[in-house]
Assembly symmetry: D2
Homo-oligomer: 150 residues x 4
């Protein structure tokens, strides 16, 4: 797991319907915030995940985890910091930090597996591999970027 | 709009994440409850909406409306009463009543349009037409069941 | 129903998890988009709905309706146009138009009732009444703004 | 972490709006399924989580993780197997296995922290401690059930 890869930041405003009866964001929505973080990161790099998927490559979530540090509330203006920390064969790992006014609210990660339209693992297209590798090379001394076949 | 068509009933338990910071079910979830009502009604009649869709007929929501009478809360055991009140060409109309212990919480309706996989209106397959007509014939004196072409 | 009240516009990007197996935004999410439209309108006018609620006034959804004209898809950049078309006693009515690149995708409305923390109707606080009236006065010749007691 | 604690099983039918454009259940909904698993387990033991919360004890999600093995689809009839594997001071850990027709689709866990209404950690009420301990004692030779103060 890289520790110095550059973070991409995007912002999200908590919606009314995302807050539960405790008055805080229900934990399932953090997965949507993270998803928004990684798709905005790709979009800012010129890659629409919609286009990736429509051209036959699905990035399927294989594993995820979240640690909740402090609650988020309605109308909070959150910053999602996203970075790619691993791109190896068919696997890509993203890590996230969620903050409000600089205060850490949660951390998390997602491991995605590149699949074909039938859900079978397959190498992502070259342009996506190049993009992932570019993201990851920002991480000094990273050793886990490989072109290992699946 | 028929008024005596038979209601089909299904039950749903309110989930934690469906309740908002007021402590009541967020209004968008009523649309999911209604959807569950009509798909359970079809399933009890032997028609899986999944199969309908997988065989190339989409029932697309064209219009919906809800009146909220009393709030629903966490863990409430709700009864969704669903009936088909119109089936005319490509259009089908369902109406709903949501209750807790017999007390009315909400009423609503959905108008669906039968479409092909590209979203263009097309007549539903004969078995679905027959099923809709059967549902509707339970409504004494109904006059709005027609075989009007689209 | 006023027809010339000024529209407030806000934008929303469709999230991955909001799109269903037809490949279009699931209809329940339009209610969240509309909610975002009216809260952003209030925020731009200096009123945080969070503060309104925290000070003891709940704006409870009493009725809603949506007409779906054209589908919205993943990553679509949508514009929510919101206007207040009625503010009468404890009732407030908002109307919405959802567009993508100027093309109308859906229209809808929400009727909200001002309630106290126990869910009983009560007049909204004066500053909110003033704000609603200001919004509505933009509607030439409106006649439905009244100070009718509940 | 215990490995032999008894699993409680509950069932959930996948709703239309939970399936994404890949045609599979969007990953955030697994967190709702797990939540349903643990609340149904408590309910079957005579403890309503609604009552727990209304009497001033919040069980706040502090950490969660999910491994997705095989996708779930629309209308799938899923079985959520839930067990309590740790109850120590203010912390409770639940583990989950999600299956369709006996085939494993996903595993996951949730760590919850007992808090007061202000979100500060506090010991759960005695009846809840007793219930958790009873659940856990089903795990032969468990050693991690303690009454350690917070």
């Amino acid at each position: 797991m890289g520790t110095s890869a550059a973070f991409h930041e995007t912002r999200v405003r908590v919606r009314y319907g995302e807050v539960d009866r405790m008055g805080v964001v229900h934990h399932r929505h953090y997965l949507s915030y993270f998803e928004q973080g990684r798709t905005e990161m790709l979009r800012d790099l010129g890659a629409s995940y919609r286009d990736v998927e429509d051209s036959g490559t699905l990035l399927v979530v294989a594993e995820t985890g979240v640690r909740f540090v402090r609650p988020a509330g309605y109308e909070d203006d959150l910053t999602i910091a996203t970075r790619l920390t691993e791109a190896r064969g068919v696997r890509v790992r993203f890590e996230y930090e969620l903050r409000r006014d600089g205060v850490l609210l949660a951390t998390g990660f997602t491991v995605l597996v590149s699949c074909d339209a039938n859900g079978r693992p397959k190498r992502p297209p070259p342009e996506l591999v190049a993009l992932f590798r570019g993201l990851h090379r920002k991480d000094d001394g990273a050793t886990d970027v490989q072109e290992a076949a699946t």
